[in-house]
Point group: D2
Chain length 125, copies 4
């Protein structure tokens, strides 16, 4: 079986426009509400047309030492020019974490497939 994992592309978002960018604090307190911003195209804009666009971003949290990632949320960007309305592939969300771990973003371009990125976050009592 070929794993979908072999199709997860990554790289430096400053040079590759598809790579999702994650802005999260490096440190958080346990149970504190923190803001996380995830977007595609911070440095180099990605096209946003009916033919070619970023469809969605998923965000996961992987608690350090756990076997399983937990999905934080799924965000579909639906307007790519219908009636001259455009949604940018960018969201700011709020989460509360209990343990240190890593935030993972997975995004999908309808032409160029799956892209990912992750950042570490320290969570203290």
């Amino acid at each position: 079986m070929k794993s979908l994992g072999t199709f997860l592309q990554s790289g430096d978002w400053k040079g590759e426009k598809h790579v999702p960018v994650i802005h999260a604090p490096e440190n958080a307190k346990k149970g504190e509400e923190i803001e996380i911003k995830v977007l595609v195209g911070e440095e180099i804009k990605h096209p946003n047309t009916l033919e070619h666009h970023i469809s969605w971003i998923k965000v996961f949290f992987h608690p350090e030492g756990s076997k399983f990632p937990i999905e934080i949320g799924n965000y579909n960007f639906s307007a790519h020019g219908e009636g001259e309305i455009y949604e940018e592939p960018e969201i700011a969300i709020k989460v509360k974490l209990d343990k240190p771990g890593s935030i993972h973003a997975l995004s999908y371009c309808n032409i160029h497939g799956l892209w990912e990125n992750s950042v570490e976050i320290k969570v203290e009592d």
Copy 2:
């Protein structure tokens, strides 16, 4: 046929915790990137547990005079306590509009059903 429209609940979000709150500028320039924030529970927090939570918010734009609303995006809040991780039912997004119209938010509580709100936005050349 009973319309789903008969189940769309609304009210004053300062008194009813389920009503989605929309923060959008009253005026925008055509094609300008604007931020819209949509959340449930600004004044009175809604529960966020596996048994009872806000599952998603959808955002639409209805261009003035048009027959059809256009979906801007769909946002699923997935973490309601799994591994002590919680996502708040709140998102900030970026959109570009072409015409004046109304922003509509539709949200879903897994116990208390569908809720909506809308705000007008003026868009000028």
Copy 3:
């Protein structure tokens, strides 16, 4: 406030291609697994292109006498010609119900907005 309910279009699916068609049994036993098929375009095909397509169908159940509809599921049709791959706006699902009520389908065309339909289902012990 203008309600999204005013934008929910319906009609006879034999004459209007956007109206979702619901195939469900008229009678079910309490807790029995039943199949429900929901689709757009049974009689008249809807376009399926990057520019114009059915994006999603949501299915709800409204238990008779309840104040709130419950979401059964949400189905996004993602392939509209990317790499010559097309997904038809059609799904068959399995549900268990406890009470009589109505099944509601809500579908979205990226150009022609929101459409709905519903059927009654009797559920007996």
Copy 4:
């Protein structure tokens, strides 16, 4: 960067209840409508409760020799006991393919994370 790919679990669905099962024809004609059924729990049922359930299944197609997988659809199972309504983690969909390749299913348990499976499909003129 830790890749999400390292969290994609798989195995034999006859022994491990989380592994998505894919029923697709081994051969298809180019552009022909084919049915694909994807489910979790064919042999061993997975729990379906508010606390522990299969949230969604995503289906992708990877055309042989292509760099990118294409998302066919995303299916959220929303009812896990609300009002004694349950949706089974199972869908049947219809697709048209142009080339041979592999169908990939990715599913998510809110407790046990991400699981995947794939099957090959031959597509001829």
